[in-house]
């Protein structure tokens, strides 16, 4: 088997294994989805959104919900390795550490993606905003990719420490500020288009490219003992 083919074969095997294990245990992604919905609802109470300011504020609620739910879930796929035997199980195998990162990232994207799929219709309904457009797809995809790329890396870092639940958001949130700003602005732009707006999507795309590359390369330093 050529090394590229082996690489993707291993990514596939890891992804299958993670999904299989996750589906057979407590459904973490259900909690994630519920959490996201809760945030949306509570946001509404906290900010007492009126019709006038809704379009400006609601996208913020959406992305806060996504980011918080993602942080919940990001820890899980790494934590699964920590139980009973830790990452050693994988590190023993002749698998490129980048493949482990890719598999973890894809798994995280899948989980967060499911949560987003569930939250978006609910969001559109309870906030009554015309947000379910084709233009939303690249924003959500690229934004989620940015959060997950760094989130997977930092989840691995936090997983080795005592206070992993608390440490992950502390590490992640300051660094994904550009993604949050850009995603919220882009979503707002969907609802109420502004001419001459900054290229938010381009910013997220650049962010993704840069930090995906860095994360792929530095992941191995973080998971080896």
């Amino acid at each position: 088997m050529t090394s590229t083919r082996l690489f993707w074969e291993q990514v596939g095997a890891l992804l299958w294994k993670d999904l299989r294990c996750e589906l057979r245990t407590r459904q973490v992604w259900i909690s994630m989805a519920l959490f996201a919905l809760l945030v949306l609802v509570v946001f509404n109470f906290a900010f007492d959104l009126q019709v006038e300011n809704k379009a400006a504020v609601a996208p913020g609620a959406l992305w806060i919900a996504f980011v918080f739910a993602s942080t919940l879930g990001l820890g899980r796929t790494l934590a699964a390795e920590q139980d009973r035997g830790s990452m050693d199980r994988l590190l023993l195998c002749p698998v490129d550490r980048k493949a482990i990162y890719c598999a973890k990232l894809l798994g995280n994207l899948l989980f967060i993606g499911v949560v987003e799929l569930v939250s978006l219709p609910v969001f559109a309904a309870i906030y009554n905003l015309p947000v379910l457009r084709v233009g939303l797809i690249p924003i959500v995809v690229l934004g989620t990719l940015g959060v997950a790329a760094l989130g997977t890396l930092f989840a691995a870092i936090a997983a080795n420490t005592r206070a992993r639940e608390v440490l992950l958001p502390l590490l992640l949130f300051p660094l994904i500020v550009p993604v949050v700003i850009a995603a919220v602005k882009a979503t707002q732009g969907l609802i109420t288009p502004i001419s001459g707006d900054a290229p938010w999507l381009g910013l997220i795309a650049a962010f993704d490219v840069i930090f995906l590359s860095i994360s792929v390369v530095t992941f191995q330093y973080v998971i080896e003992e």
């Binding site: 890396l153 870092i157 590490l171 602005k185 910013l203």
Partner: protein, 257 residues
């Protein structure tokens, strides 16, 4: 029958040694520190004079503006320190020499202090000018996020302790954090330009009088010297501390045998 004697422990627990300099640079090593300290003191005194006496009073803001001569240089140092963290982190991951790790940790400590001071002086400056203690202007916001990244770095180091894995994790954070800074600045700047009704921007217009520019330059010089001086002292302190830990641990083990 006697227990076989193993060769002594490998030379990995050695105390980090200072750099070996060529002979003609020896005086620099011996006296350089004193020269640096003196230069720093002089520069700061000069800055204080320039900031309060030499620079003209600003038209709209009045004397409050003079805090800028401290605020801006400290901001410069805060970002410089983070760059040092970034560079040392890369070198550590590449070379695995613990001295680079120590350097990164030292710069992070110093950088955090300066960043905190930047936020405080910025707030103090802004209060009379803006009327509020805080405005989300681009530079202050980016510095605030930098502060959080610094703190996260220090927190991570404290959680992982003296382990090699912890050093690697911190190095990765240092690298990622630094690369994030310009992107952060960009996004925040775009974010703020959508609110043109923003109040007075802190900072200078390009056509500032030369006295102001000179004072700012002097400020940058003075604080860079201060940073270098502090780095020297704190790095030595940290090196000695770690060496002491290693020696103590080895002594305990030798006696236990």
């Amino acid at each position: 029958m006697h227990i076989a004697e193993s060769p002594p422990a490998p030379a990995v627990a050695e105390t980090p040694s200072p750099l070996r300099l060529p002979q003609w640079l020896e005086p620099v090593r011996r006296y350089g520190e004193y020269v640096l300290g003196a230069a720093t003191a002089l520069a700061i005194l000069a800055l204080l004079w320039a900031a309060f006496a030499y620079a003209p009073t600003e038209a709209t803001q009045g004397d409050v503006q003079r805090i800028e001569y401290i605020h801006v240089p400290m901001a410069w140092v805060a970002y410089l320190a983070f760059f040092v963290v970034f560079a040392a982190s890369i070198l550590y991951l590449w070379r695995r020499d613990p001295r680079w790790d120590l350097l990164a940790a030292t710069s992070a400590e110093i950088g955090t202090i300066f960043t905190t001071l930047v936020l405080v002086t910025g707030s103090l400056w802004g209060r009379p000018v803006w009327g509020t203690w805080w405005q989300w202007d681009a530079r202050m916001t980016t510095t605030l996020i930098l502060w959080f990244v610094y703190v996260a770095y220090l927190l991570l180091r404290s959680y992982t302790g003296l382990s090699e894995g912890g050093a690697r994790a911190a190095a990765v954070l240092g690298i990622v954090g630094f690369i994030d800074v310009p992107i952060n600045y960009l996004s925040v700047t775009w974010w703020r330009t959508l609110h043109p009704a923003l109040q007075v921007q802190l900072g200078q217009t390009p056509d500032a009088p030369p006295a102001v520019v000179w004072t700012l330059m002097l400020g940058l010089l003075a604080f860079t010297l201060l940073y270098a001086f502090l780095m020297l002292q704190v790095n030595r302190l940290n090196t000695l501390q770690r060496a002491a830990q290693l020696l103590r641990a080895r002594a305990e083990l030798e006696s236990a045998d």
